[in-house]
């Protein structure tokens, strides 16, 4: 079942195009990786998909399936240093994922709190619920933000460099966790620099270049010229 269909997007700021002719689809259960060199327009694409800025041209179609689930893409942002001294417990942050769903209601319902507790359990951070976010390790922090993203979305996650700054062991665990979520039915879009992980986990790949973009399955990518050039023949 198709969730997202992006047709011939031109991405950029204030009329200046960063990337052009970006077309791709995301279906339920996909693990789409977005790759490309720095400055090729990956972060602009992320912002556009999240609805933080409009595309210069082209259409992003959200399917009825996605709309029925709230139409929200669960976003795991790159870590920002702004949150460094923020006083907030893990529980407070995870629950804030419900924000858009709660409308004008000033508090969280018991059902929402229950769901938040289940997600924390699922991601192995229940024991940290009352701890302060800023005192956690990088991997734990990412799990907290992942739990929040899962509560915000029905079934579609957008992960922006989820393992940046994590040590190798934690990186491996994070990838396993994402893969497990994907197997359980969560559709994943991941922006990544880590080409080895991309080739291991992705079902589909979107390679953003300045003038154009390549989209296809992971197998097609491995056998394409652009894929071979970018991966340096790794496999």
């Amino acid at each position: 079942m198709e969730l997202l269909n992006c047709k011939d997007l031109t991405l950029g700021y204030e009329g200046k195009a960063v990337a052009e002719h970006v077309s791709f689809t995301v279906s339920e259960g996909d693990y789409l990786c977005i790759v490309g060199e720095n400055g090729s327009g990956k972060s602009t694409l992320v912002k556009t998909l999240l609805g933080l800025q409009p595309p210069l041209s082209g259409i992003i179609e959200k399917s009825d399936v996605l709309k029925k689930a709230g139409g929200v893409i669960g976003y795991l942002p790159q870590q920002t240093p702004v949150q460094r001294d923020f006083p907030a417990t893990v529980e407070e942050i995870v629950r804030s994922g419900f924000l858009a769903k709660s409308g004008l209601r000033p508090f969280y319902t018991r059902a929402e709190k229950q769901l938040a507790a289940e997600k924390m359990e699922r991601l192995g951070i229940s024991h940290l619920a009352k701890r302060c976010y800023r005192e956690l390790s990088g991997g734990q922090q990412q799990r907290v933000l992942l739990a929040r993203a899962l509560l915000a979305t029905g079934n579609l996650l957008l992960l922006d460099e989820p393992v940046a700054g994590l040590d190798p062991k934690v990186t491996g665990e994070m990838y396993e966790l994402i893969k497990t979520l994907n197997r359980e039915g969560v559709t994943v879009i991941m922006v990544s620099h880590d080409i080895r992980a991309v080739l291991t986990f992705a079902t589909h790949i979107l390679h953003v270049l300045h003038r154009t973009a390549w989209f296809g399955t992971a197998e097609e990518y491995a056998n394409s010229d652009i894929g071979r050039a970018f991966t340096g023949g790794e496999q």
């Binding site: 976003y75 942002p77 006083p87 804030s96």
Partner: protein, 290 residues
């Protein structure tokens, strides 16, 4: 013995409480302290501490205009001007180039201060220095409130506190991660606007208590105190509110007892509280890291 501390005997001090103006001052002081500390949490955490300062200077300028125009109740001119300035400042400070916002804030801040004083010179007041000093440091205003002032303050405070409780979860999410909130479909610009308006309201209120120069203290001290010791958002908000109210009460009572200007006394008490919390936080840190 010490003439500084022996200003008033206790019975003289207690006698003050038969006067309405003392109670007015206490009520207004507590409400303002409560409101400003609530907002302070958001302002400090979003790195907007200085917006309070800039806005209070704008309010000073507006106050000068009101004085020259000979208005009896300045609030009606000060409030709209401050609200507009707040909206403009949060826009530039929040979204666009950070550096630019920083500089424009300083620009607006000093311009309003200078022009305000300039305008005051045309007011033809016989007590120019006194007027300006009162507006800057709020020296006597708080002890000469009318029932109307008090009523207005209660009304605005109820509004601010009500909005804060109603939108508490949203305020947390917006303060913690605005991008995420926007990505999940929250109308962040509407909330930013709301926050800007409420900040302006509180600053106009707070000018009565501490004057326009010292407002930043009311906004930042309580939350900085709370952040030294507490690590959850809820507790920080709660602690900041309590610290702010206690300091305001203590400051007002002290100022009556010692016959010192109210605003400065409140801020001095806030500073002492901060030093206290800082020490507690440092000691805790040491115990934990051992």
């Amino acid at each position: 013995m010490n003439s500084f501390l022996a200003v008033m005997s206790f019975s003289d001090f207690a006698a003050f409480f038969v006067y309405d103006f003392v109670w007015y001052a206490l009520i207004v002081g507590v409400l303002i302290a409560l409101c400003s500390s609530l907002l302070g949490v958001t302002l400090v955490l979003k790195r907007f501490s200085f917006i309070g300062d800039g806005l209070s200077h704008v309010a000073f300028g507006a106050m000068a205009v009101a004085a020259v125009a000979g208005l009896t109740n300045e609030t009606w001119i000060v409030l709209p001007i401050t609200v507009v300035a707040a909206v403009l400042l949060l826009r530039t400070g929040g979204n666009r180039a950070k550096l630019n916002g920083d500089a424009s804030l300083a620009l607006i801040s000093v311009s309003a201060l200078a022009l305000g004083y300039l305008v005051y010179n045309f007011s033809g007041s016989s007590n120019l220095t006194g007027d300006v000093c009162a507006t800057l440091f709020g020296s006597t205003k708080i002890l000469s409130l009318t029932p109307l002032d008090v009523g207005m303050c209660i009304g605005l405070s109820v509004l601010v506190i009500g909005l804060y409780l109603l939108f508490y979860n949203k305020i947390f999410a917006l303060t913690f991660d605005e991008t995420f909130a926007r990505a999940t479909g929250v109308k962040t610009q509407a909330y930013d606007l709301l926050i800007a308006v409420v900040i302006a309201l509180v600053i106009v209120l707070a000018m009565n208590l501490v004057g326009s120069l010292l407002i930043t203290a009311l906004v930042i001290f309580p939350v900085l105190c709370a952040m030294r010791v507490f690590k959850s958002f809820k507790r920080v908000v709660f602690c900041a509110a309590v610290v702010s109210v206690v300091c305001a009460l203590a400051g007002i009572l002290l100022s009556i007892w010692l016959e010192t200007p109210v605003g400065c006394t409140v801020v001095a008490v806030d500073l002492c509280a901060f030093l206290g919390f800082y020490a507690v936080g440092a000691v805790r840190q040491k115990i934990v890291s051992r």
